[in-house]
């Protein structure tokens, strides 16, 4: 037998744990078509039967208000899984059954997993699962997802539901006389004309109309406008009547009756409590300290710093390994391939580009591991709870803080994992505003640029400047978030209404699966696009090559230099390899040769498309005090911000400059007549705010679900950065700096 089973349930009911326990490593994660809601699928085999298990997004209800709910609903309607396993948290039965009821009303073949039965028992809650099963008319199986106990019974019960084809009855709940009469009338009309009955059960359709469900109403209008209008007029009639008689509306009354139904079921001997139901449990005792007015923020600061430390310090070693591996690959190519364009494309385009992406992998794994611990343990919800008041001012959500910190809110993060960290945000508008503003934080790749400029021009106030840069980036990001939320992502804030789940010890297996699936998605998506873009950028900075007459000039310079040499020195240079100690005379000549190489590299860079672009932009960038050399470096910085320092080095004829050791470049800038502190300030502002590097852009596109937002972040950020740096430069100039 082969069948599809859908897992559904409230968030925090142990759904994912059960899914992991059923499918183990045989699962894969993707997105639902067209949206960024995660779709997890896996295979479970029992006695030669193969079950395709789909983990639906966790929801509290099946309205059309959130993307998750629409996705879950559409999946059930369109894919028609053989059975829905509804996981309910036994210690929180009343609220969990609200969703169950909606599945049954939809006419779905349901099987209930009464999960965390052990926890309920320890809380003094006793549940008669047989009585529950009898009253609801669906099988109920007690389970403990953490230990996997009960999962075979559960699948057996699900199989029975599968085999009982057509034998299920739709539950008809009474919603009071007014609504019931309306529903009956609507159902009759729906049946009569066959209004969308090919996809939806008739009673459910009537109910959705009564609940003013936007999605269904839109569909109805498209399919049969006349009937849709008739149904809507009945709803209006009922609504008006209710407004007059009980001062309420259909949606509210439907919810009341559903909860009323659940309570009446539970009262029929299903549930019994010993002790006070709302007494404080261990979790609440922990919360007394953890979200305490004074201790709470301090603990939070410590935890966030800890996460940051964990992500960026401990990942250093594996990051160094990957870097070393790509360095070694570059070296191998350098040694065994003949010189030429192909070789430099493979080294600078392919290996550096892909290496740049894969270099992030350990970092991302560490961050996701850390976040998974906070998320699975329930602490993340507390962070959102404590910080929401602050972030709400800017149109964001309490959970946004995580993304900002990982991106470099404490200087030296990375926007790539930051953008991905916005996944923990459930409110769509707040999430979009967060992921568009996190690239303003000072990531580890921008820091060398700041360090270089600060060292050159503000050496005596180094620490103060770096601190100011961090503060400015926070202020900028939050203000831009506010701006976005009042313009392009306008809309009321998503209701905060959030459950504070009890603290739970995360399972190690769950953490590993969580971490790996997110990391793998990053590798898969980022890796492919980035290879293409890095080759294009390489081409932009290489082509067209210097014309022959100019190369000849540099060649002639070299020849001239060589011609003046004695045979000894010439011979010594010929024979020398990297690392050989040279005599003083030879060293002087060697340096001169390097200078010619560097000058040639500078000329070539200026001649390339990127170089021409930078030179062409000079008329514009003059306003911000930036010259063509800086422009090219900034163009290169789009590949990765690390490139800025390296490219500046080439543009100033220094040859390759190591971003970690830029003293020589810093000295040149400090002495250059083009540069003064104000120029440096203008550049700092520009680098802080301009287009995110393309790895981040690719991630933004993935997380926001369309190229539109990726493009937006490139164009908007660059315009913003330019405006700000022009403002800084012009105001500074007028003030006489």
């Amino acid at each position: 037998m082969e069948a599809m089973i859908a897992l559904a349930g409230n968030p925090n009911c142990g759904k994912t744990t059960l899914f992991n326990s059923l499918t183990g490593a045989r699962q894969h994660v993707g997105n639902y078509p067209g949206v960024t809601v995660e779709k997890k699928e896996g295979i479970y085999r029992l006695n030669g039967h193969r079950f395709n298990i789909v983990d639906l997004p966790g929801t509290y209800s099946l309205t059309a208000y959130s993307l998750e709910e629409v996705v879950a609903r559409d999946f059930l309607i369109n894919e028609k899984p053989g059975v829905v396993i509804n996981i309910v948290d036994a210690s929180n039965l009343e609220r969990n059954l609200y969703l169950t009821l909606q599945f049954i009303e939809m006419g779905m073949p349901v099987c209930i997993a009464l999960n965390m039965i052990d926890m309920a028992y320890s809380r003094g809650i006793k549940i008669d699962h047989e009585a529950l099963s009898r009253l609801l008319g669906v099988p109920v199986v007690p389970t403990m997802a953490r230990s996997g106990q009960g999962k075979e019974d559960l699948i057996r019960a699900a199989r029975q539901v599968l085999e009982k084809e057509g034998g299920r009855t739709e539950l008809k709940i009474s919603y009071g006389p007014d609504i019931d009469v309306g529903l009956d009338r609507m159902e009759a009309i729906i049946r009569e004309v066959g209004f969308m009955t090919d996809t939806y059960p008739s009673r459910w359709l009537a109910l959705k109309y009564m609940e003013s469900d936007e999605q269904i109403r839109c569909l109805g209008k498209q399919r049969d406008a006349q009937t849709a209008e008739k149904l809507e007029s009945i709803v209006e009639e009922v609504a008006n009547h209710l407004q007059l008689t009980v001062d309420s509306f259909p949606e509210a009354i439907i919810a009341d009756y559903r909860y009323g139904y659940i309570r009446s079921v539970l009262k029929q001997g299903v549930i019994s409590y010993s002790g006070d139901r709302n007494r404080l449990f261990v979790s609440d005792k922990i919360d007394k300290v953890v979200v305490n007015r004074f201790a709470g923020p301090l603990i939070m600061l410590a935890v966030l710093l800890g996460l940051y430390h964990f992500t960026f310090t401990y990942s250093e070693i594996p990051v160094a390994w990957t870097e070393a591996m790509f360095g070694w690959m570059g070296e191998m190519v350098d040694r065994y391939m003949p010189d030429g364009l192909l070789k430099s494309m493979i080294i600078s385009g392919v290996i550096d580009g892909v290496g740049g992406v894969l270099g992030f992998v350990p970092l991302i794994m560490f961050m996701f591991f850390g976040i998974a611990i906070l998320e699975d343990s329930g602490y993340l919800a507390r962070v959102a709870f404590m910080l929401d008041r602050v972030f709400r001012i800017f149109g964001l959500h309490g959970s946004s803080v995580m993304a900002f910190i990982v991106s470099g809110g404490i200087a030296g993060g990375c926007a790539v994992p930051g953008v991905m960290a916005t996944r923990t945000l459930k409110s769509p508008r707040e999430r979009l505003a967060t992921l568009l503003t996190v690239p303003f934080m000072n990531c580890g790749a921008k820091l060398p640029v700041f360090a270089l400029l600060v060292a050159a021009f503000f050496a005596e106030k180094e620490a103060l400047m770096m601190f100011a840069i961090t503060i400015v980036s926070w202020i900028g990001a939050l203000l831009v978030a506010k701006l976005l939320r009042t313009t392009v992502i306008r809309g009321a804030s998503t209701p905060f209404v959030m459950e504070l789940p009890p603290y739970r010890l995360p399972t190690f297996k769950g953490l590993l699966i969580h971490t790996w699936e997110r990391t793998w998605q990053y590798i898969k998506k980022a890796g492919t696009v980035i290879l293409g873009i890095s080759i294009i950028l390489f081409a932009l900075m290489t082509f067209p090559g210097l014309p022959a007459d100019q190369t000849a000039v540099f060649e002639a310079q070299r020849e001239d230099l060589r011609a003046t040499l004695s045979d000894d020195v010439d011979g010594e240079l010929e024979a020398a390899e990297d690392g050989t100690d040279l005599s003083a005379a030879a060293r002087a000549v060697h340096l001169q040769l390097l200078q010619i190489d560097a000058a040639e590299a500078e000329a070539a860079l200026r001649h390339s498309i990127a170089g021409r672009f930078g030179t062409g932009l000079e008329t514009l960038s003059r306003w911000a005090g930036l010259d063509w050399r800086t422009n090219i470096a900034l163009v290169g910085g789009f590949a990765a911000k690390e490139v800025i320092v390296a490219t500046l080095g080439t543009a100033y004829s220094l040859g390759e400059v190591d971003p970690e050791d830029s003293r020589s470049l810093s000295e040149i800038l400090a002495r250059s007549p083009q540069w003064r502190p104000l120029t440096a300030l203008s550049l700092i502002v520009f680098v802080m705010f301009y287009a995110p590097c393309f790895v981040s852009v690719v991630c933004i596109v993935r997380e926001a679900g369309s190229w539109k937002w990726g493009l937006f972040s490139m164009v908007f950020n660059t315009i913003l950065a330019f405006t700000l740096s022009v403002a800084v430069f012009q105001v500074g100039r007028l003030a006489g700096f």
């Binding site: 509290y60 209800s61 309205t63 208000y65 210690s91 929180n92 009343e94 609220r95 609200y98 809380r123 809650i125 509306f249 949606e251 509210a252 919810a255 009341d256 909860y259 009323g260 139901r277 709302n278 609440d284 919360d287 007394k288 979200v291 305490n292 007015r293 004074f294 709470g296 923020p297 919800a381 709870f385 404590m386 929401d388 008041r389 602050v390 709400r392 998503t494 209701p495 905060f496 209404v497 959030m498 459950e499 504070l500 009890p502």
Partner: protein
Amino acid sequence: MRSKQSGTIAAITAAGELGRRIRDMGLVPGTRITVQGRAPLYDPVALRLMGFTLTLRNSEADYIDVEVDD
């Protein structure tokens, strides 16, 4: 309501998405709630109902009418 105070919900006056979210979480007339605490900045507020903890912003809680126990 003050911290640690309990009461019974009399009416929910919110409509639309907020109203739906509030009701989905079991805040319907007749439900008993207790104020469990507040965030360090006094907002949002944490409520205890039906054995679990729910947080919502003060502005959202304004739509919930409660008959407070003495």
